[in-house]
Assembly symmetry: C2
Homo-oligomer: 363 residues x 2
Amino acid sequence: MAQQHPEPSAARTAPEPAAPTPPRRRSRPTIGDVAALAQVSKATVSFVVNGRAGVSPRARQRVLEAAAALGWQPSAGARALSTRRAQALGLVIRRPPELLSTDPFFPQFVAGVESGLSPLDYALVLQVVETEEAERNAYERLSHDGRADGVFLTDLQLDDRRPALTDRLGLAALIIGPGRPDSPVPAIGADDAEGVRRAVEHLHALGHRRIGHVGGAEGYVHAEARRRAWMTALDDAGLPEGPLEAADFTGAGGARATHQLLDLPDPPTAILYANDLMAIAGIAAATSRGLRVPQDLSVVGFDDIPLAEYIAPPLTTIRQDVIAWGRAAAQQLVSLTQGHPFEAPALPPVEFVVRVSTAPPAS
Amino acid sequence: MAQQHPEPSAARTAPEPAAPTPPRRRSRPTIGDVAALAQVSKATVSFVVNGRAGVSPRARQRVLEAAAALGWQPSAGARALSTRRAQALGLVIRRPPELLSTDPFFPQFVAGVESGLSPLDYALVLQVVETEEAERNAYERLSHDGRADGVFLTDLQLDDRRPALTDRLGLAALIIGPGRPDSPVPAIGADDAEGVRRAVEHLHALGHRRIGHVGGAEGYVHAEARRRAWMTALDDAGLPEGPLEAADFTGAGGARATHQLLDLPDPPTAILYANDLMAIAGIAAATSRGLRVPQDLSVVGFDDIPLAEYIAPPLTTIRQDVIAWGRAAAQQLVSLTQGHPFEAPALPPVEFVVRVSTAPPAS
DNA sequence: TTGTAAGCGTTATCAG
DNA sequence: CTGATAACGCTTACAA
C-alpha cells in the first residue's frame, strides 16, 4: 500500500458546507451553480443547454429556471477547451496600409462574415500583418493556440503557399476569390468574369473598339482573373486586343497607368479598371490632360464603392455583393470546420451599374 | 462495496500501451508532452514559458529544447480558462454598411490596434452588429464568454449607455475619440480641434469670410466635436458665424447638404466637411451646379482618404494618424486590463494637407 | 529549485 | 433518463 486513497467519492460529497473556499468571490455563475440550484448534475445542465435528448421535462424546466435566475450562460472558453473547438474563425489580412484604408472589400466582407457567424455563435478573430512571414506565423498561431477552428484565405497569389500551410496544419480553410484548380483548399468567389463581360459588351454596344484595361497588382489571383476576363470578353465580342497596363490597385497606380495608356499612339477610347479607386484616379488623370469623361474617354470601375455614385461624373462600375459573399463564406467555413464536405453556395450575381462615366466614343 | 475503484493511479500510468484510446489522434503536443520530454514537471515548463524565476538554467534549457522539438506552444484557450483572462480585446462595430465600406477609419484603426497587440501576444476579436440591442448583447457576450478582457468603444454618442454597461460588467473599456467628462471610461482621441482650427485659418488667410460646415451624423460625439471646433475657430478668427448643415457622413448626405448650403441667399465661399467622403460628394454636387472648385467654392475634407489626392481637384483635408492612434489605444487598453491606471498617451499631431481644392474666393 | 495536485468551466463516457 | 467522474491544457499554491 504505497498510496492511500482518501475515499474519493465521500471526500467530494462533503466539502461544500465546510466552506473551504470562502474568500473566493466568483464573478460569474458556473454550470455547477446552476446544477446545484436546479438539483441536477452538471451533465444534465449541459444537455439542456445543448439541446440534447435524454432530459426529463421536469429537469429541463428546473435547469432553465435556475440558469435564468442566476443569469448563467456557458463559458465559451471552457467549452472550447473541452470540445477542442474555439468556436471562432480567423481572418488574417496582409495588405499595405494604403490599400487597406480605401478598399471597400474588407469592411464589407467582415460585415458579411459577421452576419453569417453571429447566428451560429461563432466569433471572428482578426489579424493584420505586414510581412509574409508574419502572415504565416499568424496562421500557425491561430491554429496552434486554438484560437480559430478555420481561416479565410484572402488575396490569394498565384504561387501562394498558404493552402499548403493550412493543409499541413490540419486547419480548415476557405479561399476567398477565384481558387486554384490544384489547391487542397476549396474556394468561394464571385464571378468576376460575368461582370467584366457585361462591361465590355456595354462599351462595345456604345461603339467602342479600343477598350483598354488597367489591371490590379500582378501575382494576385483575382487581378489575374479580371485581366483574363477582359481579354476573353474582348475576343468574344470580336474586338481586337486592347492595350493593357498593370497597376497595383492604388490611386497612384491608376493615375500612372492611365497616363501610360493615353500616351499610346492609338489610345483607347474606353478603359476598364480593376477597381474603383484606380478608375476614379484615372478620371482625374484624364481630366488633368484636358480630356472629358465620358465624351473623350469612357471609364468603367470595379467594386462600386459608395463614393462611385458621388464623383463627377458618377462612375459606371461592376458591383458585387460582398456582404452576401462574406456571409456565404462564413457559413461554408463553419460547415467545413464541422467536417462537412464543401458545397459551393450560390452567390448573388454581379451587377453592372451604368452611370455617367461611359458614353459613345467621340470620333 | 457499492463502488469499485479500478486503482486510479495505476490505471493512469498504464493505459498508454493498452490503447484504450487508439483513435485519439492528438493533434497538438501539450505541456505534458514537453514536460515528459524535458524530464521536468508541467509546472516547470509553465514557469519557463512564462518567464518566471525559479528554474535552473539546465532545466530551462531542456524545456526550451523539448518545446522546440515538439513545436509546442501554450494553448491560449487553456491558459485563458486557468487565468480567467482571454488575452484578447474586443471591438464591436455598429455602423450602417454604407458607412462601413468607405470610411477609412476602421481598417486603419484595426491595423493600428493589431500592430500594438501582436507584440503583446493579444488577439483582437471583432463583431459587427446592426442594432443597438445587438451591440449591447455583443459586449455582454464578449465579457461573459470570456472572449475579451477589454473592449474599445467607438462612435460614442452623446447619451451613450455603453460606458455604464462596461462599468457594470466590470469589463475594461476605452473610448476611441473625444470622451465625455462624466464618463467612467477613459477616452483616447485625436485632437480634432487643432486640425479644424488650421483649416479655418487657412481659409481665412485666403480671404474667405463665409465658411460653412457640413457636419457628421448628429448625436455622435466626434461629429459634435468637429462642429464645435469649427464654430470656435470661426470665432477665434474674428469671423462671423457660418452656415451649418448637419449631414450623416455619407456621400448622399454630403451632396444634399452641399446643395442646401449653396441654395442659401448668401452661400458660403468655402465649406469644411466632417469627412472626405462628404467633401468629395460636395465637390461633385457643386460641379454639377456649374460651380468650379476651387475658384467658385473652396472645399476642405477630413480624414485624408487615399483617394483624396487622386480626385479632381485634389482635396485639401485634415489628416490624422489613425494607425498610431489604434496602436496607442491597444497598448492603453491592455494596460487597463492589467489593472494599471489610465495614462493618456501622446498621439501624433493632426496634419493639415493643402492640395488644390482651396483657393481665394472669386469675388 | 522542483514536483504534486487542485482548480478553471465545460463536455463526454459510462455506469446505474 | 440521470448522475458520477474523467478528461481538456494550463496556472499556481503548497510541499518537498
